[in-house]
Amino acid sequence: MFESIRASKNILGMNARNLTYIRPHNLKKAKRLADDKIRSKRMLKKAGVPVPRLIAQISSKRTLESFDWSILPTSFVIKPNKGLGGEGIIVIYGRKKGTNNIWIKSNGKTITAQELKTHIGHILDGEYSLTNTPDTAFFEERLKLSKTFRSYAYKGIPDIRIIIYNKVPVMAMLRLPTKESGGKANLQQGGVGVGIDMARGTTTTAVQGKSKIIEYVPGTRLLLSGIKIPHWDEMLILAIKAQEASGLGFLGADVAIDRDNGPVFLELNARPGLSIQVANMAGLKRRLERVEGLKIKSAVRGAAVGKNLFGGEIEEEVESTSGKSVVGSVEEIEIIGKNNLKIKTKAKVDTGAYSTSIDTELAKSLGFEHVINEFDKIDLINYEITPKNEKFIKKAILSEHKIPDLIDVAVVFASSGSSIRPVVKIKFTMDKKTISAQVNIVNRSDLKYDIIIGKRNLYSFLVDVSK
């Protein structure tokens, strides 16, 4: 219960988004720019951010009447300038063969110039505009689906939403159009959002609509995690540049990938949605707090900071799918010895060793002093330490000497000298997992760590040597 309340402090809710982030950081002027697609297009282009090419615009009934339809290329998109949530957009794939004024829409149906004219009339009347006031319609080039996403996207073009705050990319998701969303990449309309690991640009977890967690592309067996987003670094930098140019302090940047031209900036969003947190299975609020007040000098620097701070979800992903925790080569552990004696220490995690060894002194503190003393009394010189003799040695010692808590004898062959060591049973807790282990006792006083954990006790861990 308390944990849930604490965890919920990581989540950005609507109230905090509006009051703490949008209100002070997205000033009215910048918001108006974001809502005006033609103007933001011009602004971004000037700032060196690639945008889909503007073909023509129609801002009055008169220009609509006199519009020369023949200037249009074979494929294009019609958009309302101040549209909201992808409404009022028509995507034209090409001209119908042998005709001049009949086009084919993205759903395969045809549309005539007359019907397009009516649609544009509606746009001009403000039917799709944010404020229901008269609007402008414009034609822009149609982006082509990049190869990477061909099998993932239903009809439309997937795009990548990146939240930029204080010039740092804090969270991102890949938005895939689905059948339910009618080819639109909008989550509210049933699109799929896939979380992205900021460091690697690789997808992690996914959500469909507002909160349904999914693993596969709807209706297929295509896994949504592990998709490598092409041009990842370039996209982060584009998004940061767009923030600098637009003046939106808290920006939802939409970037798409064109088959021919690579990353293209689609849209500025002054009120980015919150579902990105579900797609990433992570909270935005804590991330925003972490980049608050950082002095970021350049877009390249901002991208590097974002990647460093917010990468690593892949690791948790591995943990949750394999059920194993990822540990480093040195880990903080707690050892539980005899009579529940507990000692905290640092352990060397070594997949090159077979079994686990602990230092004599450590073993004494864990309550095994009597084992060591008794074992020292045994005259070991009589035994010839060879692999062939191993079984015999164990049997002989264990049957001749009854030492309490001595559960086994280890015969270790090492280049530095082979030895016979006492084995006792302990438990240790590493990365929240408690492992019961048989460990041999040896003098490690000249070594840095007083315990080394070998393969035998590492079955429930994965070792990341870079950690």
Binding site: L19, E127, V278
Partner: protein, 230 residues
């Protein structure tokens, strides 16, 4: 309650020929709005903005004054207005008309259906409901434009959900403020005896306006994420 129990402020207003209903509703209105604010900002019921649910609440209080269950007529008008409005949009879509004339036709049909409903209600049930003032009904009709706008922008599903949420808010507001319920009567006597207590909604709203916690529905929405990070 006697006039002599009222606050001197109210008595003064009555001496200036103000209607008691008007005074009561004007004093209740800040409370209505605040209820809507709490339901939206803290609970997370979205509804159609803040005005629509508030006005609908007032309309409900106004329509069902005599007995609590008269609210069924108010709900009936609400539902009919929305259904006709929604249905007409589909019919009119085929005509490919410009937006404003289309809304005009839509509202014309809505007006006639309300007229028809009132006639039917009057015929079967002579409680005086059929002679309800036009204003609460007009307020409900105003909902159509709001509804159609949302329908265009966010789709039918969202529009219907928001319409249901608006109805829920209005019913909660109605229960708290209608003279037909005990709590409503208490609220009414409170505002008439101590009208200035209504001003407490201002500090309360300042508090809500600065509050950045998660809304109740966000705990549900982000339930999986919260469990994952804890």
């Amino acid at each position: 309650m006697n006039v002599t129990d009222f606050s001197p402020i109210i008595q003064f207003l009555l001496e200036q020929q103000l209607n008691l209903d008007t005074i009561t509703l004007l004093l209740l209105f800040p409370i209505v709005i605040t209820i809507v604010v709490v339901l939206r900002q803290v609970i997370g019921i979205q509804a159609f903005g803040i005005y629509t649910p508030s006005f609908i609440t007032i309309a409900f209080v106004f329509i069902a004054q005599d007995s609590f269950w008269d609210i069924k007529y108010a709900i009936a008008i609400y539902v009919i207005v929305l259904f006709v409005g929604m249905g007409m949009r589909f019919v009119l879509k085929k005509l490919r008309l410009l937006y404003l004339p289309r809304v005009a036709i839509n509202l014309t049909v809505v007006s006639f259906s309300v007229l028809f409903t009132l006639a039917v209600a009057g015929y079967f049930d002579r409680t005086g409901f059929a002679s309800t003032s036009i204003f609460p009904i007009l307020i409900i009709i105003m909902l159509v434009e709001k509804f159609v706008t949302v329908q265009i922008e966010k789709g039918n599903r969202t529009a219907i959900i928001l319409a249901i949420e608006t109805l829920i808010i209005a019913l909660i507001g109605y229960t708290i403020l209608s003279p037909t319920t005990a709590i409503g009567r208490y609220m009414i006597s409170l505002v008439l005896v101590h009208p200035l207590t209504v001003l407490l909604v201002i500090p309360f709203n300042i508090f809500i306006g600065k509050w950045t916690g998660l809304r109740f529905n966000e705990y549900l929405r982000f339930h999986d994420v919260i469990n994952k990070i804890k």
